[in-house]
Symmetry: C2
Subunit: 366 residues, 2 copies
Amino acid sequence: MGEENQLERAYNQTAYKLAGNGERNIQVLKEAFQNIEDDLESDKYGKGRIIEDFQKKMAVLLGKEDAVFFPSGTMAQQIALRIWCDEKGTGKVAYHPLSHLEIHEEGGLKELHHIDSVFLTKRDQVIDLNDVIKMEDGVAAILLELPQREIGGQLPSFETLEQISQYCRDRQIRLHLDGARLLEVLPYYQKTAHDVCSLFDSVYLSLYKGIGGIAGAILAGDNDFIKQSKVWKRRHGGDLISLYPYIIPADYYFDMRSNKMEQYYEEAKEVAERFNACYGISTLPAVPVSNMFHVQFRQAKEQVEPILLELEQQTGIGITSYLKEMDEHSCYFEVHMGDGYSKIPKELLDRTFEQLDESMKHWFNQ
Amino acid sequence: MGEENQLERAYNQTAYKLAGNGERNIQVLKEAFQNIEDDLESDKYGKGRIIEDFQKKMAVLLGKEDAVFFPSGTMAQQIALRIWCDEKGTGKVAYHPLSHLEIHEEGGLKELHHIDSVFLTKRDQVIDLNDVIKMEDGVAAILLELPQREIGGQLPSFETLEQISQYCRDRQIRLHLDGARLLEVLPYYQKTAHDVCSLFDSVYLSLYKGIGGIAGAILAGDNDFIKQSKVWKRRHGGDLISLYPYIIPADYYFDMRSNKMEQYYEEAKEVAERFNACYGISTLPAVPVSNMFHVQFRQAKEQVEPILLELEQQTGIGITSYLKEMDEHSCYFEVHMGDGYSKIPKELLDRTFEQLDESMKHWFNQ
């Protein structure tokens, strides 16, 4: 705990950050609002120009009839699954065992919506067509997360997505996309958002991952689905009198970063290669398929921490603020590439990774 | 509909507004943030200085062990009632038939929490001790709204509150305060927030009514209650990565307006008197007990609308942007006094109410 705080403190003091879009501070809001006219009227309970224009823009991007802005993805996704369960008259959905709904939402889907979940595959696997085919009966909807965050942001092939989509359509099983990081996977697939979303009945997109907004989410689908989702948004307490404090930054940073996902993807591959060249370190996946990956150490957390601490203090590059234990003998952290990386001088980067490699060798290979 | 839009348009073009704290536009946010340091770090999933400091401040104000910031009152109140129902092992609560939960939340309490509600009194009455005594068995919690908004913001006496509180305590029935407008009733009761809240097990306070923030709510109670409410906040999708876009304005406008409630209350009584002096117009209540009241016309909506339209266009004072039908022969609108009223020149006000009186007489008493 003391060590953890030390690493976090060292990270916060570095001049450069390897990953991310910069600090989550008040400046993020101020910048987004600086060119907005003072007398622009607030949205009001889901109505008004600010929210309606942005929802239309997102519906067009995703190729769906309509879209609705939600304060959170947690709310948006539970609601999507609830609508599909009500349609089918069952209370069962299927997803990955490390889905956000399963591990980060305090069981909201079950506690609020009385929906049970079936796991489609093992914790360390990507969902495949066979997982769907052998799934038990009575599932109203399948949720696919692209990329699968908790296993380093891995992806099924686009052909697999097409096959799963066709299989579900043939059997009246609804397919929902957890596209928190949808834009981030488009460069790998070499597809448009429209192409990917056409395989799904409903789509969630986060506005503060690669895009780097403050908070908020979009849920998109056909008109009837969106109409129902607005009723549920009110029931959940998400139909706020004013959502513009999130919508205006979402729109601002979308315009700034939505066309930078190819750059982040290329940089992710480059940085992963640098980590993989270091002794005792590997990335998951070995070659990233989005802007994200995990960095894994074949050493215990308490042994790796002082190395990273020293590295950050000496080079001024923030590699990570934390390490998570995998087991007694290994640990990892997550990387999401963003605007920070391109600001780091190349020479300093080279030196930093050289030092990391040397330190790992020095400590674990004497 | 055409008429309604005309009145709304005329209202929006007036130089002065009789009620409210000014327009809900972007300036409200910009003003609150103008003196905040750019590098102040965002709250993160309910942690961090911004959210923790404000929650502490509100807990002290309300005299409760702890408090939690919610994006909406809808979410906060459903959760409060759910916790009290789970504690008792029943799914039944009691409140006024025009409670926000009953008429503005699309049945969220029932659809999400499977909680049934019992009405304590008739639609046009304030809840009294007798209503509570004759209530059916098995109720886990009673929600009291102070003031009762949908009937013009009426209040029970403080003695009635004390009696209901004692009755509930004796019978292990939890008492929850819908204090959306709690600060607004303190001048009438001549009590502190602490005094009123001590009669309740849990308290909700809105941050954009009299206070005039952007959105958001506080839920306060004992430590265990707040701990549980944070779990439910996550389940509802309300535990956003950043809530500071609402918290900073809430804090800013709380400091600006929380001590102006006495002024708003006095102005409400003054303005109600002006309306009551006009032909065919009365207020509910006749003498306001907070900053709010209803203005009722003993004429049909379509007959009153052109009078108000002309009045607003000629005087430049926005009286109301809408009228709601009560029945074929009467209509009303709601008034919440705020910063707008004291900006209107006294002479212009006098002239406006004279003209209103004359127009009403002219049209309905020839």
